[in-house]
Symmetry: C2
Subunit: 259 residues, 2 copies
Amino acid sequence: MKKRNIVFEIAYEGTRYSGWQKQGNTGRTVSGRIEEALRQLYGQAGDTAPDAFELAGAGRTDAGVHALGQVANVHLSCDDAPERIREKLNGILPTDIRIQRCYEAEDRFHARLKATGKIYEYVIVTGPVEDLWLRNRALQMKDEPDIEAMRAAANLLVGEHDYLGFSSLKASKKSTVRRVDSIEIWAEERPVGGKVIRLIFTGNGFLYHMVRILTGTLLEVGMHERTVTDAARALQTLDRADAGPAAPAMGLYLVKVIY
Amino acid sequence: MKKRNIVFEIAYEGTRYSGWQKQGNTGRTVSGRIEEALRQLYGQAGDTAPDAFELAGAGRTDAGVHALGQVANVHLSCDDAPERIREKLNGILPTDIRIQRCYEAEDRFHARLKATGKIYEYVIVTGPVEDLWLRNRALQMKDEPDIEAMRAAANLLVGEHDYLGFSSLKASKKSTVRRVDSIEIWAEERPVGGKVIRLIFTGNGFLYHMVRILTGTLLEVGMHERTVTDAARALQTLDRADAGPAAPAMGLYLVKVIY
């Protein structure tokens, strides 16, 4: 049977997983759980190769990072309609992973290589009392950052730049130039005091740890531990030491992949 | 030291608990965990009586039911300012229970006896894919109920009535007359298809299981398993058999207690 190119839009809570895919480390991964489910549903005697159900994912989210709209594709021999594949997978996947949509694409579609952009969101909760509904799903902190200062710094961090200094890459033979189209920062009041702050990053691609390091740098500006003008220094020096720390994984969501 | 009357506004996710307080059954309760924390923080040699830190809670939520604004009070000997009591408690309570606010009230205030009203919310998610962020926090179902029919039936269920037929009480020496001021039903579209439906109940008090049975009856109307006019039959007959089933606990939230 000819293999069909099946595409999944996937949501997951990353808390229990060591990331989207294995990066040398062991442990349970989101892609591994979906591949296991595919093998269980569609495995045949000829599919014993370890990569028979290898999922190509658009974004390699870290341990603890969540997704609302991860995209991945797999070449699959089966007769099921896409909605039926989705239903069968959701029937056996753990409840912290959901296939949101499933459709068939042309053979050459590749979730990672064909992506032209991504949207990430970082969620911060401030105030005297933690939000129990967002435990493991946001960075929670007592003090409130200066949001206007963060917005001013965010304006210096967008554009087309070499973001090597805002990544955990040691060095890279591939280009580390990326275009960040916008960093929007929204804040809403919480009934018990404090705010829910959302940083929304849109760009053509993001380097390893880049969204978390941008967030950590903006938070230093927000806490007045770094000046606005100093926020973008690592864009000139390309030196990781000139950027802030990586904000914790639990606040980060891969919202959407753009094609 | 004179005892002070300390009031707590409390949020909790009920999933791991067998309810707000013991109802004969064993198991971990929300009030039990807070009493344990109070004993740990403020216990003295003289407080060995089992009820030394007994919390009077406004609503006895069932196992699996959540709260955004449960209210409870306790008579406590301590010098800490209310905000300090809140911080200390949140420091040792499990993260699925949060003291949202803490304040001191006059001696005669009693969280349950002085309550003049309550607001509950029941959350339903429909559509082909479960919402993983609301797992254990909503009733999730594939099919979409007829919301206009539910609203029409809700209009027949409000008012001042004997709600015995909409409760799990066998019989009651106390009055089972309650006033339900409103049942509002809101629905919003989900991006993956289906809706999030919220039923908001406001009244001067609710009998044992009453909100869940009202919701179960409205859902039968919504699924066209019961006519609109039949929804209110148990208000006349006072017969539990004439009302619908109790909707699952996981969708229910005690939102606010009114004084």
